[in-house]
Amino acid sequence: MSERMYPGMSPDERTTFSPYSAFDIPADLRQLHGRYDVASVARRVRNFRYAEEWMMMIMGGWVATIPEVPVKTGLGKVIWEGAQAADEFGKRLPELRCGRKAVEASEASNEGFAGFVQAVAGPETPDLTIEKLVGVFDVLKPHLVEIYETTMRETDQISDAPTIEILETAVRKTRRHIAWGQEVLDRLCDTEALRERRRARADELSEQLSASGGVTGTLASDRGQLN
């Protein structure tokens, strides 16, 4: 066989393998240049880690003060998966030039969002399971899914693919958490009065969340970009 397996030094010493671009097999329509640069993605990841870490700590605080046994046990798994998400975000940070010690770095986008998280944590006594769950499963987690998906769409699809991978897993699990939490809430809110309690709590927190600009503090521009 006269075909070359490896290229030589002169132009007529090329191999005979057919040329393809990096995107031809399979066809890849992704383009370079996303909405966020390295520093912006790092900031968003720190913000996401903050939300996931605080959410799992808050749910940890609630397990003992929620009387419904299936809610206690169900939260156990949600807590663990929240911790895993925070852990993955943390591991991404050194890859985004935040330093090796950045794996434990969480950062609220602003004081408004930090205040919103403390408001979610507010309900304490055993008669407030609805208020507790609404904050996480009707308001915060759906918001995170929205922002995670926005980030996945808007970030550089090739250069920032590792972040997208983490977000894909987080979205898949968070959607499952929301489905579980909302099924529990549907069951608990079995009268109009209780459904009203759920709505009132969700409205109050959603307003506070929007005012803060959400987990990244850029809710308005994120939504504007989508529109």
Binding site: E53, M56, M57, I58, M59, G60, G61, W62, V63, A64, T65, I66, P67, E68, V69, K72, T73, G74, L75, G76, K77, I79, W80, G82, A83, Q84, D87, G90, V103, E104, A121, G122, P123, E124, P126
Partner: protein, 317 residues
């Protein structure tokens, strides 16, 4: 949401009733003296009766009097012994609420210690999932044996004894004391299930035991980490663990003595990170309670006096 809660703040649904923790303290500090044990139980008899009223334990109270816990705790589980199934269900129910409190203890560690290292939070979060599954497993096993949640009163003694506001002590109490006790109890349950051919129980408890060994290991590692470079703190932690171990030995019922109802699971504990020295210490601390002979005599006297009193009341009425 505040940091640190009291045991009476553990939220429960309407199936549960509470048991006064004073009884557990009495059990943990009983001397090797028949008269002293009889006097203690007679003193607590009205409280014990009140706490079991309307629960499945009322049947055991009527049969054995206020010392029914002595019989239940002190005699090894044997499928051929009297009321074996009810005693097994009672133990299973105790494990179920123990798992519930372990879930609550691990979960509270996430909230109570916000500045703890991230790896600690990861371990506690993982433990939340595991303990949540254990609660589910033991609810299924309770049903498997014909029992149900809430059929016996719940003592919050485990949560109270283990949940310190110092993270090193918390992991020493919950992960090494409480989870270590779980290793001993589960190894005993597996032996029982093997004896009765109950493969469902045998396999499920074996999985749970594997998880518990991991949790004890978390405790072993974090006690070292939290007390690194501070021998005084380490000593305090070890003293606390010894105190918890003594309370969890229920007057020698869980010990390395030949007559122990629940033997120490020596090999499982070694795998979980307990040193030979710590195990020798545990064997010594847990053996400090009254002998089995003393407890048997006390239980017999209490049972006779209880029935005599009941018969007297019956005759008068």
């Amino acid at each position: 949401m505040k940091r640190f809660i009291e045991p009476n703040e553990l939220a429960r649904d309407s199936r549960f009733i509470r048991q006064d923790n004073a009884m557990a303290t009495v059990l943990a500090s009983m001397p090797d003296d028949v008269d002293a044990i009889v006097a203690a139980f007679e003193q607590f008899s009205p409280m014990i009766e009140e706490s079991v009223r309307g629960t499945a334990a009322q049947e055991l109270f009527e049969a054995y009097g206020p010392a029914f816990t002595l019989v239940v705790l002190n005699e090894p589980l044997d499928p051929d012994s009297a009321a074996a199934t009810m005693r097994l269900i009672l133990r299973m129910h105790g494990i179920f609420v123990g798992e519930l409190q372990a879930l609550e203890g691990a979960a509270r560690s996430l909230w109570d210690f916000p500045d703890a290292p991230w790896e600690f939070k990861m371990n506690m979060a993982r433990q939340c999932w595991d303990e949540g599954r254990h609660v589910q497993i033991f609810e299924k096993l309770l049903e498997h044996l014909g029992g149900h949640v809430g059929m016996f009163p719940e003592s919050t003694f485990l949560f109270e004894a283990a949940c310190s506001d110092d993270p090193a002590m918390r992991v020493a109490g919950v992960n090494r004391g409480l989870e270590g006790l779980a290793c001993d109890v589960f190894r005993d349950m597996i032996r029982y299930a093997e004896k009765t051919g109950d493969e469902v129980m045998q396999q499920a408890v074996d999985y749970v035991l594997a998880d518990e060994i991991t949790h004890v290991r978390f405790g072993s590692e974090w006690v070292k980490e939290f007390t690194k470079g501070d021998p005084e703190h380490l000593q305090k932690t070890q003293d606390f663990r010894r105190e918890v171990d003594k309370q969890f030995s229920f007057g020698g019922s869980r010990s390395d003595r030949e007559d122990a109802a629940i033997p120490i699971a020596w090999e499982d504990r070694k795998e979980a990170g307990f040193s030979e020295e710590e195990l020798q210490d545990l064997a010594s601390v847990s053996a400090e309670g009254p002998s089995k002979e003393t407890l048997t005599q006390a239980a017999q006297i209490l049972r006779e006096r209880f029935h005599a009193k009941r018969n007297g009341e019956g005759a008068r009425s």
